[in-house]
Symmetry: D2
Subunit: 138 residues, 4 copies
Amino acid sequence: MTFPLTSDRQSVAHVRVRYAETDKMGVVYYANYLVWFEVGRCEWLRATEFSYRQLEAEGIILPVIEAHCEYRRPLRYDEEVEVRTRGTMLSPARLRFDYEIVLSGAADPSAVGWTEHCGVDLQGRPRRLPPFVRRLFA
Amino acid sequence: MTFPLTSDRQSVAHVRVRYAETDKMGVVYYANYLVWFEVGRCEWLRATEFSYRQLEAEGIILPVIEAHCEYRRPLRYDEEVEVRTRGTMLSPARLRFDYEIVLSGAADPSAVGWTEHCGVDLQGRPRRLPPFVRRLFA
Amino acid sequence: MTFPLTSDRQSVAHVRVRYAETDKMGVVYYANYLVWFEVGRCEWLRATEFSYRQLEAEGIILPVIEAHCEYRRPLRYDEEVEVRTRGTMLSPARLRFDYEIVLSGAADPSAVGWTEHCGVDLQGRPRRLPPFVRRLFA
Amino acid sequence: MTFPLTSDRQSVAHVRVRYAETDKMGVVYYANYLVWFEVGRCEWLRATEFSYRQLEAEGIILPVIEAHCEYRRPLRYDEEVEVRTRGTMLSPARLRFDYEIVLSGAADPSAVGWTEHCGVDLQGRPRRLPPFVRRLFA
């Protein structure tokens, strides 16, 4: 098994912009895109009959170690948005997810970004991810 | 010891309105007042050389069982705000905090509210609060 | 037309608990229920082929003047939740929404609450709500 | 005037971790670091007798066009945190801020990151920043 392993699968999660997510500029506040990224990666994992909750039940968590976002067009209250996610296994203990935030019906993303994660146990020690995680990327 | 026991002490916590806390109406989003209430009651507890973190270390948490807020005047980005808090012990297991949200220098509160809390252990069972909590209200 | 006018209609919005919405107690942080209430009332208004965005386009906003929530059972990450909403017109300028937060498949609500709103124009002056709003409650 | 222009000035803003900012992992949720970055850059601007609010009064806003964060050590409820910020003017219309999130008393940052901003008018068109902004970086 050689890394990185990028899955062909792209998941799509749907969110509708909440009033709480806007700011006084009238558009979505920039930190909320990272919340949507998390919605996106949960959907990606869920679509594999695996959920993040399940991984936690095994005593492994996947904290974010790096996050990045490029904001191209603002999004507004009540708009419907797709969070398109792809996953890559970078090493036995590290994952990366790539995101596109797309206004429903639009050709180009309003924002793009990625996050990197490292498997750790509940004491915070790095841990190889169990085989069922690896299979998601095969 | 008869209930309710209301402490004479009022704590004051200072917050400055964050951009993230505004919404597209240009004012503070209504749910964020409950976040400030929490800042207020932590300050109230801290001022007694007791912190909520300490209570948790004893295996007791104080979840909110009821919350209420009246919004009288909007607050805006970058404004300095005082969170004035008073505490009442309603029964051996229940507390209430009363809050005033006051724009610095203003005579009247911009909002007022209260929360009620019940001591529970980590399994969610109601628990009498330890004596050091009771003394705060004496 | 006599007030209060309570519509028979109940809307149901679906939310799934986000990681961002949990706190260190492992359950949904209490202020986030007010965010869900807002999701609920938007859905209620949308279901009438009327949206809050449309009202704003007419120069009227509906700020919350009072909010209340009772927390009965905690909710956890990834759970699916229904936000059931009913609307009442209290007077020509005031509305009330009642909410039930129900874990999917559960018999009883995990939380219940309500909000009161007053129609104001962009200068903050109270305004009677336009006839198309009143018809929603007829 | 040649770009980039990096100011020597570093501002320090103080935040205390709020309960609302933690997640079920027991640590600060990753999107909240971007909220703190915003607190940091407001402080940086305020310390120059210039505030972001003042810029908005001139009809110019500074939306984030890119954000990045590296998470090195988790932060926990009630901890006191410094947000250390430096500013750079990249071009007549673009700014960059660099942040260090440091647990009070610690030698090394718990997280580091940066944001890039572009001056735009209220119609969203790019705008050169007014001279008083440039002087901040001289």
